[in-house]
């Protein structure tokens, strides 16, 4: 019996492409962009949830484990807009949800 036949609501998921900083790629042992499956509606928080499930070594490196708050020197951009402080309430833009653009995790500039 499938989940749908059992009465559970079907869950739509989409593939989200994430640009991860080089040091986190090394930590997660991935090359290039990371792709995760995320249920709609797609928010930054949902993408980070999926990223941490797929790559547990990244837990705690993007957001604080206790508070869930974004680490201060991480920025998050999508389709040319800054989503660093829009984690849970704002759906990501269509080009990211439709896979045409990546979600970009960026280490804030610091130093000279």
């Amino acid at each position: 019996m499938s989940a749908q036949e059992a009465g559970a609501a079907p869950e739509d998921t989409v593939s989200i492409r994430i640009v991860v900083p080089q040091q986190l790629r090394t930590l997660a042992r991935v090359t290039g962009d990371v792709v995760v499956e995320v249920a709609t509606p797609v928010t930054v928080g949902a993408v980070i949830d999926a990223l941490e499930v797929a790559h547990p070594a990244l837990a705690g490196t993007i957001r604080d484990r206790d508070t869930g708050r974004r680490r201060a020197m991480i920025r998050i951009y999508a389709d040319g807009q800054d989503y660093s402080d829009a984690w849970t309430d704002t759906e990501l833009p269509a080009p990211v949800v439709e896979g045409r653009e990546p979600l970009r995790l960026v280490g804030a500039i610091a130093g000279g």
């Binding site: 900083p21 070594a57 705690g60 991480i74 280490g107 610091a110």
Partner: protein, 371 residues
């Protein structure tokens, strides 16, 4: 022939330096974890192939790495360092109160008996332990909840627990050192603690001989004589003969008694090494000469060791965890500098030579003596 493996933590990665027992020809591997600050790399005495590294940076926080093959391959272990309960507050530089906030692991102390058990000293100051090889970490809460903790204030490097000194024959007893709280002692495995700073004097405090608040930079002891403990304080080199309950100054004829690192010879419990640094405002050696000082009498009388160390135009620092000894015979002594040099003396300090000259800023040096 047996050999040594030197574990070097730097501001931009870790390096492993290996040699046979002559300690003359070295192989250098690294950088491991390139670009990250590696505050400390430590090997398990119970299993020398088991290594732990504290990896952190301001962007991505803390990672603990683990190797089970002597540093050839590494896996990220746990990085969840959560203070138990309401973490409370400590003093900040300006006298205000700030909540306890985890920043990084400064120091890792693998158990002498169990390769899965490690103590970690962290910033903001607290003590954590893993018993599953680094996957999960639990706080020993009695330290951070000590009655004096709300009065602790950070040193220039942060409010860090940087030194852990257990008794070899009784792991329930240990000393820890915190900048700038001072020394605290436990006799019940970390449940309860008491300050152990009697005899220390620190002019930067309103009450220079207060029970807590001292900027202790490093402690060391010889395992055969656990009640004798040597200390490099912010200023002053100190000694305790009663397991830290009281201290007396042994700076003697040192050119300056400011410094960070202190070590004791592997086979001579009264032979102690320090690296005098000009002052708290001038973190480089006096007169541009890098001199390790050795006392063979447990302090007070010191001799400069200079052969092979730069004796002009040298303005590097040697940080608190950047001096180590091996247990070969003769004992080797190792010093890492903020200029990226790691020097070795394979003869107890008489002659020095650089193993490497151009690493990033060296934060820590440990040595494993391998069978």
């Amino acid at each position: 022939m047996s050999g040594v493996r030197v574990l070097v933590g730097t501001s931009k990665g870790a390096f492993l330096l290996t040699a046979d027992g002559h300690r003359e020809r070295w192989q250098v591997s690294g950088p491991l974890f390139g670009g990250w600050e590696i505050y400390h790399v430590a090997g398990s005495p119970a299993d020398p192939d088991r290594l732990f590294a504290s990896q952190s940076n301001g962007w991505f926080g803390q990672v603990v790495q683990r190797s089970d093959d002597g540093g050839t391959t590494w896996e990220p272990a746990g990085n969840d360092f959560a203070y138990e309960g309401d973490p409370g507050t400590h003093l900040y530089y300006d006298g205000s109160s700030r909540p306890w906030t985890f920043a990084r692991v400064w120091h890792l102390l693998p158990s002498a008996e169990d390769p899965d058990t490690v103590l970690a000293g962290v910033e903001d100051a607290a003590l954590f332990r893993t018993v599953d090889g680094g996957r999960s970490w639990s706080e020993l809460t009695g330290l951070r909840t000590h009655a004096s903790a709300s009065s602790w204030a950070p040193g220039a490097g942060g409010l860090c627990l940087h030194t852990i000194v257990p008794w070899p024959d009784d792991p329930a007893r240990m000393l820890v050192a915190i900048s700038a709280a001072g020394v605290l002692a436990t006799e019940d495995g970390g449940s309860t603690w008491k300050p152990a700073n009697t005899g220390l004097r620190s002019e930067f405090m309103p009450e220079p001989e207060a029970e807590v608040g001292h900027c202790v930079h490093k402690l060391v002891r010889h395992p055969s004589r656990p009640d004798v403990v040597f200390m490099q304080k912010h200023w002053d080199v100190m000694r305790s003969d009663d397991g830290g309950m009281s201290w007396r100054e042994i700076s003697g004829d040192l050119p300056t008694d400011f410094g960070f690192a202190i070590e004791v010879h592997a086979h001579e419990p009264d032979t102690v090494y320090v690296v005098p640094i000009t002052s708290d405002e001038q973190h480089y050696p006096p007169d541009g000469r890098l001199r390790v000082y050795r006392s063979r009498s447990g302090g007070d009388e010191w001799e400069p060791l200079t052969d092979g160390l730069p004796q002009s135009d040298c303005y590097v620092n040697v940080l608190r965890d950047a001096m180590a000894v091996d247990s070969m015979d003769p004992c080797g002594v190792y010093v890492g500098t903020t200029g990226g040099q790691v020097y070795v003396s394979p003869d107890g300090g008489d002659h020095w030579t650089p193993i490497v000259r151009d690493l990033p800023r060296v934060l820590s040096v440990e040595v494993q003596t391998l069978p």
